[in-house]
Structure formats: structure tokens, C-alpha cells
Subunit: 301 residues, 2 copies
């Protein structure tokens, strides 16, 4: 791949462009906000103008609800196209409805990010060692898939091919529902007074960190993957209700014998949490390695 274009020079797009430039790919930067494209160019991410002839691959790096329109608007920009949105089924469907050439498009989702947004937060190793999901449709030509794989590899990521719905269910479980749960938990703190919140420790910081994300971006992401997130969140809420019942039973129990069954339900839920957490693969990461910090983080109690 000799030339590329990035449409949308926020955190993700600029990070991709920085990685491509570092591997010698001529990269064009396009953003409806020309100032953002200029900032990205100043960071060394590429050239803040449109190419004179089609580039090999264009990456549409805009929020989910804007991907189809941006893809449609830039059909002459490149030979092949991919995107970087966190949801894939709705984007594919909207791209079809918008009349985009689906033979030259493969959905993509590089699995990396930071809390900050915008080009100034970009880094060329943002996707180093991370999965980069590609979701070809039956119409996608082989060359498009190959170019998107090359893109992922140039960014140091590991290409993973999945079906659209499979991807959306996977991120509902591992990313979207966790984000929403973090937000719901953080929202509970609005009901605490300062003396209560003064007891907060690192554990609360950790579990609510995702809740600090952009409201607009996450409304878009969650709204674009609504069914899959609803399914996971409904099961989660059901589990929570069962534990409320167990805790209420403990609150009214007078005899040790009455405590046994609800304590066992509580203990079983905590054990399932330990087992579920153990299923998260350990990151082989380059880029940011937080494993040492996390191994020694205080846990409160």
C-alpha cells in the first residue's frame, strides 16, 4: 500500500495516519473541521488536503451514525474503503441504503482508544498488539479485504475477521454494556453526599472510569448497537435483582439458619465474577502496559 486517506482526524483517524506515515505510506487527511485536519498534519500525520487521484485505501474514521454519509460522499477518493466505527451491522446496512459501492468496502474496528479525544491525543502505537476486526460482506472483493488487513498490520494490530452481527454481540458484551454499567453506577453517586463520597477509593475510580467517556459518541455507539446491548444489559439487570432479593433476605433473617441460603447465593455470584474475570485474555500488548500498576492497585473494602 503506497497511499491512503483518513476521513475524520480525531483520536482514531489521526492515530491510524501517524502509524501509516511512520511506515512510509503517503497519507491524506480530510475532516469537515479543517482545523482538526491541520492539527493532525502539524503532528506529522500526513497532508491536510485531498489527493489528486484515488489513493489505495481510505479509512472512514467518524462516529457510527456518520460513516455511511461520509463513505458515500468520498466514493471517488480511493480504490478501496474501510471504516473504524464500534458497530458494524448498522453501518453496513446504512452504507447499502446510501448506495455506496459495497464491493470496495469492508467494515473495520480497531480495538483501541484512550479517554481523551481529538488529534492531539493521537499516538502511532494506539493499536499496537490489539485486535482489529474486519467484517467483510458477501459483496466485498478480495483486494479490499487484503488492503484492510495490510492497514491493520501497518498499525501493529492483529486482523480478526468476523461477521457483522458476531462483532456487534462481542462488543456489546466486552465494551458497550460495561460502559453503560459504569455510567449507571457513577450516576448513583449523584445521590450521595460529600461525606459519603469522601470515602471513595481506587476501586470506585476504576469501576467508573469508562463513565467519563464522551456522552455524544457513546449515545451514538450504544444507540447503534441497541439490540445486542439490551440483551446483555437485561440479563445483567435480572442477575442484579436476584441479588437484591438475597440481600433483603439477609437483612430480615433472624436465625443463622435463615442466612445460609442467601449467603450461598451471594457467594456463588461473587465466585462467578471471579471466574468470568479470569476469562479475559491477558494482553500481550505493546503500547500502554498497565499490568504492573494494576497488580498493585489498592482495592478498598
Amino acid at each position: 500500500m503506497r497511499s491512503a486517506a483518513v476521513v475524520g482526524t480525531g483520536l482514531i483517524g489521526t492515530s491510524i495516519a501517524l502509524a501509516l506515515r511512520g511506515r512510509g505510506v503517503t497519507t491524506y487527511l480530510i475532516d469537515t473541521n479543517s482545523e482538526a485536519a491541520r492539527v493532525a498534519a502539524d503532528l506529522g500525520a500526513g497532508i491536510a488536503e485531498s489527493p489528486r487521484e484515488p489513493v489505495d485505501l481510505a479509512v472512514i474514521a467518524v462516529p457510527p451514525q456518520h460513516v455511511a454519509a461520509a463513505l458515500k460522499a468520498h466514493q471517488q477518493l480511493a480504490h478501496d474503503f474501510t471504516d473504524a466505527a464500534s458497530v458494524k451491522e448498522l453501518v453496513q446496512q446504512e452504507a447499502a441504503e446510501a448506495g455506496c459501492d459495497l464491493t470496495r468496502f469492508v467494515g473495520g474496528h480497531p480495538m483501541g482508544g484512550r479517554e481523551q479525544s481529538g488529534p492531539l491525543a493521537a499516538r502511532d502505537d494506539l493499536f499496537q498488539g490489539r485486535p482489529w476486526v474486519l467484517t467483510p460482506s458477501p459483496k466485498t472483493r478480495l483486494q479490499t479485504i487484503e488492503r484492510a488487513k495490510t492497514l491493520a498490520e501497518l498499525c501493529g494490530a492483529r486482523p480478526v475477521v468476523m461477521a457483522h452481527a458476531e462483532h456487534d454481540r462481542a462488543v456489546a458484551l466486552t465494551s458497550h454494556t460495561p460502559h453503560l454499567v459504569s455510567s449507571l453506577l457513577a450516576a448513583r453517586l449523584l445521590h450521595g453526599d460529600p461525606s459519603q463520597l469522601g470515602l471513595a477509593g481506587q476501586g470506585l475510580q476504576d469501576v467508573t472510569r469508562l463513565a467519563g467517556g464522551s456522552v455524544d459518541l457513546w449515545t451514538d455507539i450504544l444507540g447503534s448497537n441497541a439490540v445486542a446491548v439490551a440483551d446483555v444489559l437485561a440479563e445483567f439487570a435480572h442477575d442484579a435483582h436476584l441479588l437484591v432479593d438475597a440481600l433483603r433476605a439477609l437483612g430480615t433473617a433472624r436465625e443463622p439458619e435463615q442466612r445460609r441460603a442467601p449467603l450461598e447465593r451471594l457467594s456463588a455470584a461473587l465466585l462467578r465474577g471471579v471466574q468470568g474475570r479470569a476469562r479475559i485474555p491477558v494482553r500481550s500488548t505493546g503500547g500502554l502496559s498497565l499490568s504492573t500498576a494494576y497488580a498493585t492497585a489498592p482495592s478498598g473494602g
Copy 2:
């Protein structure tokens, strides 16, 4: 304070003892597991034997359900007593029922911890800069309160006086319910297959980190603060159900007009999360400072 005893030389007890020894207090280490006391002594936390005459203050640093029995068993060990358990109302009630001398006891809860447990995980700065809650009862004499305050200060912590129930509600909100939510979310991962879990990023690691805690200890803690945790978890589960409804509405909406109201509910929930998270006080901490690591942690998406 010239002499102290720590009953229970796990992470918390040994960390307290290390801090006291560092400030020149003669400290005795007692544990039903004599090996744990010996390990703590080898770490320089004090003397692994019982004092010949009563020490100034004894700290009962055992899990909540064992505090009253340990306090009762060691009434001759010290002039004054405190504990270190994460729940305070039930411990006070059980101490009264066990016939302990309540004039010489003040409940205590140093707000610090680590993921690891046992004396080998102890560190003398575990409570540096952290709140240390004290919950005197109407019977507690002044000298006991003063000695417990001195203990907190010798450990570098900030003494905070609260009522038992007030403490228990505060930790239900800031620590106990977050732990349970983290466990419930991690338990959902048992329903994912490896290809789905392969997409997990740092965000999922963060939000499920608390779920890795000890099942036995947390069954004890949550079971000992059941009513306060049930209240917070019930509100949380109710909020989750409302969002399931909004997401389902988005899933079936056919017209943009039908999407507006549920998207606004989703957006409002995310905004409340941002606002709730902003209420967590920034740690002035000594000890472990993870703020830099967290400011640059990837957030997935």
C-alpha cells in the same frame, strides 16, 4: 501511644503494624494462624507473641463476622480497642451481644487495601493520605477515641468520625455495591465465547478489577451490610431496566422520530454518569499514585 497489639496479621493488620513499628511503637502480633504472625514479625512488623501486660491499644484486624468474638477473647490484651472491619453497625451490635466492654471500644475502618491479601502484601504506607473512619458509640470513653485517632495519624491517615449507620450507607454506595456490580458484570463473561472475549480491552479490565477480590471476605462484607447494599443495588437495577426499555425501543424504531425519545433517555443516563463520576474527590494520596497511568489508559470503544 507506646505499645499496641494487632490481632489478625493479614494485609490490613500487618500494614498497620508496619506503620506503628516505623513510628517507634512497640507492637505485638497475634493471629490464630501462628505462621502468619511469624511472617509478619519477619517483615519487621513487631513481636509475634502476647504482651506481658496490657498494651495501650489493640486493633482487631479480622473479617467482620469474627470481630466480636476476637474482641471478647482479648479483653485483657489492651486498655483500649478498635477494629478495622468494612462494616460497623453489625460489628457494634455483635460486640454488645458478646458482652464486650463497650466503653473501651471504638469501631474503625481504615479506607485502604490492595488486591493481594496476607502479610506478605502489607506495606507501611497503605493508609497514607486515606480516610480512617471511627464510629464511637455513646458508651465509648474519650481516651479510646483519642488513641484510635492517634493510631490513624501514626499510619498517615486522616481520622473521620461518623455514625455506624452513616458509615455503612457510605461504603454501600462507594465500595460495596460497586464491588457487587463489578462481579455481576464479570459473571456475564461466562456467557461469551473466546472469540468474543478476545476483543476485550483495558476498559473491561478496569470495570471488572474489583470482581477479582476474595469470595469469602466479600461474602462476609456484603452479607454484613446487606440492607444498605440492597438499597443501592435496587435503585441501580431499576435504572438498568429503564435503559433496557430505551434500548429495546431503539431496536424496534423504524422512523427517526421514534428514535428521539429513547436516544434522549440514553444520553441523559450517560450524562448523569459523567456528573456522578465528577463527584469522586481527587485523591491527594501519598502511597500509590495511579493518576498518571489512568489518565492515559486506553478506553476501547
